[in-house]
């Protein structure tokens, strides 16, 4: 702890102090009649306009972990790490129409979570429970990963102690976050997102102009990266994709795009917006963050060209590639600017962590607590329960990082993406049609989930150090259907998520056909076709925070 970087630390602490004050003040920002309702605490009053929504969803989806992990992946694997770009290119056009329907139907019926919608669409608390649990389980490790991002910055600042002392700054930062989220709800991250995103934009724009000039231009950067990858024995890296990982690249981009807006925290950001026009505008405006992400990914190559080395994590003794970007900033920028960059990443961890914990708390409250534990809970009791749940979720995430190897969170995050994809038929397809039978959706969920987990479990890591949950890329050669290998001998790789989703859909279709033949009861739909087109100002929208 002796080698603290004081200038960076002071800038970091100042900016952190500013957002802390904002977090507490946010409770009074555009306040409604009461905070004791999930519409207010959990969705910020459902009245955010285009700008706030842009900052909020941008701050929500492009997380601190993304900002450190994507460049780290580029640094170690090259082109394969750039999948984040096609992923964010296709995601907005794909979700454009479904999100509008989701917003409208939720606004008419007062849905707060995606599981609320499933509950209304199929009248089944069981299916809604599956969707809610999937959402909570997939979100938890995501929150933990934000801590990984924050800790990468704290370690670069000099807080690289071992044991609990090394984790103390992280713990303090998170306690502060937990308290103001508890008090202000979604308004806190919405307000802080302004600071976070402006800082990130400034840092990245400066970095992508300044660093290439300093390093001798883009061609120098790419040839340095090319030289590094050619020198390594690993076959999968390089500044271009190879014959084996192209399918993986495309399917991972597609699977991630389909999964993104199934995550409860993404839906929370969408439902908090005022109307359909706000969402449509944002589908065109959010890609500005994709541009940022792409440039940021290239920082991984700049780190290669600048000869940056990852920091050794004193808590684990291993080099931590997540420190690549913070280290690059530390090495190339004056310390005051590095401080701003670190604050941008650090605050960048707080915004998504807050929104994710709120989303998970909403799911718990609406689809487990109210549904199964206390059916007569008043809106005020729901809000109280959600606030408590948000604390539990956050400290659960901290415990994850403190007491379990962070690698476990990374594994779980990988698994989480495959898991959340399994809710696609029940959430996204159900927005358009009720053709799928309730039983088909449940059977499909179990089949996709089980197979996806089994496939992931059997994938070793690329370096051979771990036998299970090593990656999300499956060699087609290893694909086995009851012992039959349809692609034996193929070295192509594919993203497990799309395989599991395919099985999910096949099973859902088969069971649906059978269930329809048997005329099995398919639940009650409380939604009307016209509900999916309602906009703000319509007579049928539900009053906000109505009891």
């Amino acid at each position: 702890m002796s080698d603290l970087h004081w200038t960076e630390l002071i800038v970091f602490a100042l900016l952190f102090g500013v957002v802390t004050v904002m977090g507490f003040v946010a409770a009074k920002w555009q306040r409604g009649d009461t905070l004791e309702h999930l519409d207010e605490w959990g969705l910020g009053g459902r009245k955010f306009g285009s700008w706030i929504t842009w900052f909020l969803i941008g701050g929500d989806l492009y997380t601190a972990y993304t900002f450190v992990a994507v460049p780290a992946l580029m640094f170690s694997a090259g082109a394969a790490g750039f999948f984040a770009l096609p992923y964010t290119v296709i995601v907005y056009p794909i979700v454009f129409m479904p999100l509008l329907r989701m917003w409208s139907v939720s606004r008419v019926h007062g849905y707060v979570t995606p599981a609320d919608f499933v509950r209304g669409r199929y009248g089944s608390s069981g299916l809604a429970l599956l969707v809610a649990i999937t959402g909570i389980v997939a979100t938890m490790p995501y929150i933990a990963l934000q801590l990984v991002g924050l800790e990468a910055v704290l370690r670069t600042l000099g807080f690289n102690g071992s044991g609990m002392v090394g984790h103390l700054p992280l713990l303090i930062a998170f306690v502060i976050l937990a308290v103001y989220t508890y008090q202000s709800g979604l308004r806190a991250p919405a307000l802080i997102a302004f600071v976070k995103d402006i800082l990130i934009y400034v840092v990245i724009i400066v970095a992508v102009i300044y660093l290439p000039i300093k390093l001798g231009g883009w061609s120098e950067i790419f040839s340095a990266a090319d030289a590094k990858f050619k020198a390594t024995p690993a076959p999968g890296d390089g500044i271009l994709l190879n014959a084996n990982n192209q399918l993986q690249y495309a399917t991972l981009a597609l699977g991630s795009a389909l999964a993104l807006f199934l995550y409860p925290h993404s839906i929370t950001g969408v439902l908090a917006s005022r109307g359909r026009t706000v969402i449509k505008r944002n589908m065109s405006a959010l890609p500005a963050y994709s541009l940022l992400l792409g440039l940021l990914a290239l920082l991984g190559f700049m780190a290669i060209a600048a000869g940056t080395k990852p920091l050794i994590n004193q808590a684990t003794g291993n080099p931590d590639t997540n420190t690549i970007v913070p280290n690059l900033f530390e090495q190339t920028f004056p310390s005051w600017f590095a401080g701003i960059a670190f604050a941008a990443i650090g605050i960048g961890a707080l915004v998504p962590a807050a929104i994710m914990s709120i989303a998970a708390a909403n799911l718990w409250t609406r689809n487990v607590y109210k549904e199964f534990i206390r059916k007569d809970a008043t809106p005020a009791a729901e809000a109280k329960q959600a606030k408590l749940a948000s604390l539990v979720v956050k400290f659960g995430a901290v415990a994850f990082i403190l007491f379990i190897d962070p690698q476990f969170s990374i594994d779980l995050q990988l698994i989480g993406g495959v898991m959340i994809l399994q809710t696609l038929p029940a959430v996204a397809i159900a927005l358009y049609t009720r053709w799928f039978h309730l039983r088909g959706l449940i059977a499909g969920w179990f089949a996709g989930m089980a197979w996806g987990m089994w496939l992931l479990y059997n994938i070793p890591s690329a370096d051979g150090k771990r036998a299970h949950f090593g990656a999300s890329a499956l060699k087609l050669n290893d694909l086995s259907v009851f012992g039959w290998h349809p692609f034996a001998g193929s070295t192509l790789q594919i993203y497990v998520g799309v395989l599991a989703l395919s099985l999910n859909l096949v099973v859902a279709v088969l069971v649906t056909v059978v269930a329809r033949r048997l005329r099995s009861f398919n639940g009650t739909d409380e939604t009307n076709p016209a509900d999916y087109h309602v906009d703000e100002g319509d007579k049928r929208v539900k009053k906000i925070a109505a009891h």
Partner: protein
């Protein structure tokens, strides 16, 4: 408008929506998995994918503008009250 009640799918379609499929081209890696031609020293692989962002924005923006006055995106509270009230009361 479809008939009131739950039978109509009420799916509102505009041919402009097809534009939303254009960015899917960026899933076809063989199109851009090459180094040349370079742009400002950046291999084709990288700048072509950056170009994808611009194409995506153009597509979503065009769909937004072109479907603005269609029934798919009714203006707030205006013009559709009769049909909507029918459906509203059928709940």
């Amino acid at each position: 408008m479809p008939q009131p009640g739950k039978t109509g799918s009420n799916f509102r379609w505009s041919p402009w929506n097809l534009l939303l499929a254009v960015p899917l081209l960026w899933l076809l890696t063989p199109i851009y998995n090459r180094t040349g031609p370079e742009l400002f020293g950046m291999p084709f692989f990288y700048w072509f994918q950056f170009l994808g962002i611009i194409v995506g924005v153009l597509c979503t923006t065009l769909v937004f503008i072109k479907t603005k006055d269609r029934p798919g995106t009714p203006a707030a509270g205006a013009g559709l009250d009769v049909d909507d009230l029918d459906e509203g009361t059928s709940r």
